[in-house]
Structures are given as structure tokens and as C-alpha cells.
């Protein structure tokens, strides 16, 4: 069932014309925003604004953006511990993200969740997740709700290569396959489950083959090619929306930084990282846009500057946002506290 998207390695410049210019600009802008957000967050963490840990997705911007742009506004996603890109890809507001990382009341989760739990239900972002594979059954449940109500919405579960060895993935995939639910299983295979390479975690080269056991197709795509990711996901989304059931998309990519900021990365060589840096999805896409004649260099530089300004504003917003009152920690555990009895 595995199809390899062999055409994605060497893009044909002319193919760019088949995408609306505005779409390409959005794709470039969001990838840039993700990259700059991550670098800025790392900087602000060093500076002391951000207290918690960060699992950056630097290098994986094409998967997050390509997949999210294949969705409609009413569609939903579940995300992972490496989820900042997914949020931004789905339209998340970097001011609320930065404020959340800084532990402020104005943050996405009022300072209760931090990096691992950011959610925006209005945008269909059902939450990042601190548990590997934890969000996949939730996406399946969202898909179930849509199917039961006859809504043409779909749920996309982001997860990494490590998650396909968790029981939650298998149970969720089985249920979704059995009931033909409108779900896309989107695997960002960055080749490492924390500090252990995929080759020492799974006995198969392509994780997409796992889908066959659950009765739906698995597709492999170059995860550093945003347009290829978009195309493959779009197809999976259409299939799900049309009642055809789930698809497993395996996007092969690479995280250019550690599993977490401060990871000594003893498990891989600097040469390997450098080799992948040469395939960094953002400069590659940028070159393609200029060489394809669709964008002037200056137009893209202007987008980059806009993004930088947006992040300056986001950081300023986070710095100025008030810290929560300590006792706010007691709010929002329950929708109904039974007159305060549950505490």
C-alpha cells in the first residue's frame, strides 16, 4: 500500500504555477513564522522569560505547514510535544503562544499548560500533548463525532515516529479503520524517537506500512517539501471527507535541533545534522519561489521582516501581560465544582 512520492525530490519549477500565488505566500510566511517563533522562544528561554522546556520543531516546518494548509477551517488537529509548528500552521496567534510559554494569564491556556498543552478550539486546535501518541485517540473521537452528526469535517492527528510503537496509536488506528472515520494519521518521521534512531525502534523502514494492518492506505512523502506534503495531505483529507476513511501519511523529515533545548545529542553526528541542514525546507522553498519567477527576492524578504516584527510584538505582549494570581491555579479543573466541593 506504500507509494513513494518520488517526484518530490527534484521539483519542476513550472509546477509552482498550479498553486495560487496567495497560497504560496501563506505557505512561505507560515513556515518562516514557525522557524522564527522557535528561534525566538529559545532565545527568550535563555533570557529567562520562558520557564519551561521547549521541544523545537526547527527543520520540520514543511510538515506542519503543508499538512495544516490542506485542512479547512472547520477541521481539527491534535498535536504533540513538538507542536508549536502545528499551532502556527493552523493559524494560531503567536502573541498568545508566547504569553503561554511565559506563563502568563493572557496565554492560550491561561498559563496552565505551557508548551505541551496549547490549544485553541476556535481554530480547531484540540491541544498539543505531553504524552507520545496521547492525542491520536482524541482525534479519532473527534472524527467519530463529525461522522455521527453527518458533518463534512475531518480530524488530523499529528504524531512522530516514536508514537507508532505506542498502543494508543494502534488502538486508535484500528478503530478509525474499522469505522472508516474521517481521520488523517499524520506521522512526522524525524528519524529519532527522542535519542534513539528509528532503525533501533522499529523493524520496518517505512512506518506507513503499519496502516495496512488497519485497512487503510499509507503514503510516504518527502516531509521537507512543503508542496509535496500539502498535495499528499490534501488527497488524504479529501478521501476522509468523502467517506473513504483514514489515510496514514508518513512525512520523512529531520529536526535540526535537539529533542529538547539542551539535548547533548550524543546519539547523532554533527555531519549528519549538517547534511540535513543542506535540505532545510525553508531555504529550499524560498529558492524555488524566486527561481520559479513567482516572487521577487524583495517580496520574500519583506515577509521575513513582517514576521520578525510580529514576533517582536508577540514577545512584547508576553512581557507586558500580567502573571496570573497564584490562586488562579485552583480554577478550571471542573466545569461544575459542585459548590466548591470537589476541592
Amino acid at each position: 500500500m506504500v507509494e513513494t512520492d518520488s517526484g518530490s525530490e527534484k521539483p519542476v519549477p513550472g509546477a509552482l504555477n498550479s498553486y495560487p500565488r496567495e497560497f504560496l505566500a501563506t505557505l512561505f510566511r507560515r513556515m518562516t513564522l514557525i522557524r522564527q517563533f522557535e528561534l525566538r522562544a529559545i532565545e527568550e528561554r535563555r533570557g529567562g522569560l520562558i520557564p519551561g522546556f521547549i521541544h523545537s520543531c526547527v527543520g520540520q516546518e514543511a510538515t506542519a505547514t503543508g499538512a495544516c494548509l490542506a485542512l479547512e477551517p472547520g477541521d481539527v488537529i491534535t498535536s504533540t510535544h513538538r507542536g508549536h509548528g502545528h499551532l502556527i500552521g493552523k493559524g494560531g496567534d503567536v502573541r498568545y503562544m508566547m504569553a503561554e510559554l511565559a506563563g502568563r494569564s493572557a496565554g492560550y491556556c491561561r498559563g496552565r499548560g505551557g508548551s505541551l498543552h496549547m490549544a485553541d478550539f476556535d481554530l480547531g486546535i484540540l491541544g498539543a500533548n505531553g504524552i507520545v501518541a496521547g492525542g491520536i485517540p482524541i482525534a479519532v473521537g473527534a472524527g467519530l463525532a463529525f461522522a455521527m452528526r453527518g458533518e463534512k469535517r475531518i480530524a488530523l492527528a499529528f504524531f512522530g515516529d516514536g508514537a507508532v510503537n505506542e498502543g494508543a496509536f494502534h488502538e486508535a488506528a484500528n478503530l478509525a479503520g474499522l469505522w472508516k472515520l474521517p481521520v488523517v494519521f499524520f506521522c512526522e518521521n524525524n528519524l529519532y524517537g527522542e535519542g534513539t534512531p528509528q532503525s533501533r525502534q522499529a523493524p520496518v523502514a517505512d512506518l506507513a506500512v503499519r496502516a495496512a494492518g488497519y485497512g487503510f492506505p499509507g503514503v510516504v512523502v518527502d516531509g521537507n517539501d512543503a508542496l509535496a506534503v500539502y498535495d499528499v495531505t490534501r488527497e488524504a483529507v479529501q478521501r476522509a471527507r468523502g467517506g473513504g476513511g483514514p489515510t496514514f501519511v508518513e512525512a520523512k523529515t529531520y529536526r535540526l535541533r535537539g529533542h529538547y533545548e539542551g539535548d547533548p545529542q550524543v546519539y547523532r553526528s554533527p555531519a549528519e545534522i549538517e547534511a540535513w541542514r543542506a535540505r532545510d525546507p525553508i531555504p529550499a522553498f524560498r529558492r524555488r519561489l524566486v527561481e520559479g519567477g513567482l516572487f521577487e527576492e524583495g517580496a520574500l524578504a519583506e515577509i521575513e521582516q513582517q514576521v520578525a516584527r510580529e514576533l517582536d510584538e508577540a514577545v512584547a505582549f508576553a512581557v507586558q501581560a500580567p502573571l496570573p494570581a497564584p490562586a488562579e491555579a485552583l480554577e478550571g479543573v471542573y466545569g461544575d465544582t459542585c459548590g466548591g466541593l470537589v476541592f
Binding site: 491556556c109 496521547g134 488502538e171 478503530l175
Partner: protein, 327 residues
Amino acid sequence: MREISYAEAIREALCEEMRRDPSVFVMGEDVGVFGGVWGVTQGMLAEFGPERLRDTPISEAAIIGAGLGAAMMGMRPVVEIMFGDFLLCAGDQIANQVAKARFMSGGKANVPLTIRVATGAPGSSAAQHSQSPESWFMNVPGVKIAVPATPADAKGLLRAAMRGQDPVLFFEHKMLYAERGPVPEDTDFIVPFGQAAIRREGTDVTLIGIGMMARKALEAAAVLAEAGISAEVIDPRTLVPLDKATLVRSVAKTSRVVIAQEAHLRCGPGSEIAAMLAEEAIEYLDGPIVRVGARNVPLPYSPVLEGYVLPSVQDIVAAAQSFWPRR
């Protein structure tokens, strides 16, 4: 008032809410064609069909995780877990996802998910089909925990759970399913969470009975009455939230307390109640807070062994009588 069984009372609550609210649906292992291994959903398939009475694979993490996702998207799922022992197969989904979704998201996630669980020892079912895991989850903020002991409470508490906004672990004792009792026919009848029931009034000793043990405490009270001891029996009905006020009031009146649970003694629900009474009612007490529960070994198979490990009516009676050693 007409009398129906505990299982029928639960079925009535399910059916009435499913008729009233299209967002309510039931899913679990063998809940449809089979009618549930405990017979609770028997006969419902004809009325509600397989879409709203969904048989699932044996897949607890997916059942509860999918219940959570559906709840977040506006449905009101009621999922059934066949044995409480199996809750741990979905441990992450319950403790890390369901319980924390609202809090972690800053209040964005609404989680009206009811998890019905058959709990307790049905007799010779051994260590993996007999446990009372209520307190495992009392240590997880974010879930509510109901332990109905009567058919009326089963119906009223279940409706409260299904109409609420929060995830509920709803523990139904296997040996109560066939028990009959009066149940109101009012389709809006609700027993609110956090309100203990005084099952019998008394003046000498308070017996707090959890779930099945509320019934056994009543039997113990009858035995104690013959010995001239007036026991007050309190059924907390929900463990989270816990109606502390009613418990403290009763202890203030009787000055003596026995807490009975079917769970293992160590860190069971009674441990939490005992600690609470030590903190909030110590000045009323004329003796130690006494707990009755299963001995701290896995539940055994042979009836002789099982009977030795599980708490009995006689254990409650003996615990209460210990306050009057010369009587």
C-alpha cells in the same frame, strides 16, 4: 413507588437521556448485540440502533480516548468498561488526557464524558476481575467519581453525570445489578453529586459505607441494634466530590466512626475519609477512626480464600463493637 433493579435503573437513565438528547450515545465492548455482559444495555439496540449503541473492539484506550474526542466536539458519550480492572489499559487516557483536558487547555475543553465501570468482587473472579479501583483515580484531579449503592442513586447520579460538563467515573458494583429498590419515574430525576445520604439514623456510632459496603453497613446496623448499639449509616454516594459536611456532622453526633470499603485497605477511599475526619472532626471523636476493607493482598479465587480477604458484614459489626470492649 414502583421497584426496579439497579441494572434497569441504569438502563432507564441511558434510554431517557438518549431520547431527550441526540448527542448522547453509548459505546463499549459488547454493549450492542450482546446487551452488555452485565445486561445493562439489553434491548436498547432495537430502539437506538448500532450508530448510537456502538460495539467496539476490545480496546479500552481507544474507547475512552475516542469518548474524550467526541465529548470535546460536543457529544455526550457514555462509555462502558466491562471490569474496573481494565481501566488501567486506558490509564493514560483517563489520568493524563480526560482528567486534565479542561485544566490544561485553560478551560477551552468541555468534557461531558461518562465512563461506566463494573466494579467490585462478583465472587471467585480472582485478582484481575474483582478489584475496586475507585481510589486509584481519587488521586487524579479532574475526574469525578460516583459509587451508587441503590437503584435510585444509580439512576439519579447517572443522569447527573450525563447532563454535567465533567468526566465521571461511574462505579457500578457487580453484585448490585440485580438488587431492586424504589426508583422515581420522573424523567428529570437527578441525584446531585456531593450529597451524601443518611441511610439510617443512629446515635452511638457512624458507619460510612462506600458503594456495596453502604448496603453491608445497613445490615451491620441491624445486627448492632440487637446488641443495643444505635448505628448511623452514611452513604457518601460520590467520592469526588465528597460531602464532608454530612460526614463530619454525623461523627459530631456519634463520636465514633467506622469506614467500610471493598477496596484494599491501604490508600483506599476510606483512607482519604479517615484523614479528612482526623483533620476536621478529631475533637468530636471518642476513639480511633476504624477502617474496614479488603486485606492488602491480591483478591484470590477460591471462595475460602476470597471470603477471608474481602470485608464482610461481620467485620463491620466487630469494628463497631470494638468501641465497647466490655459489652
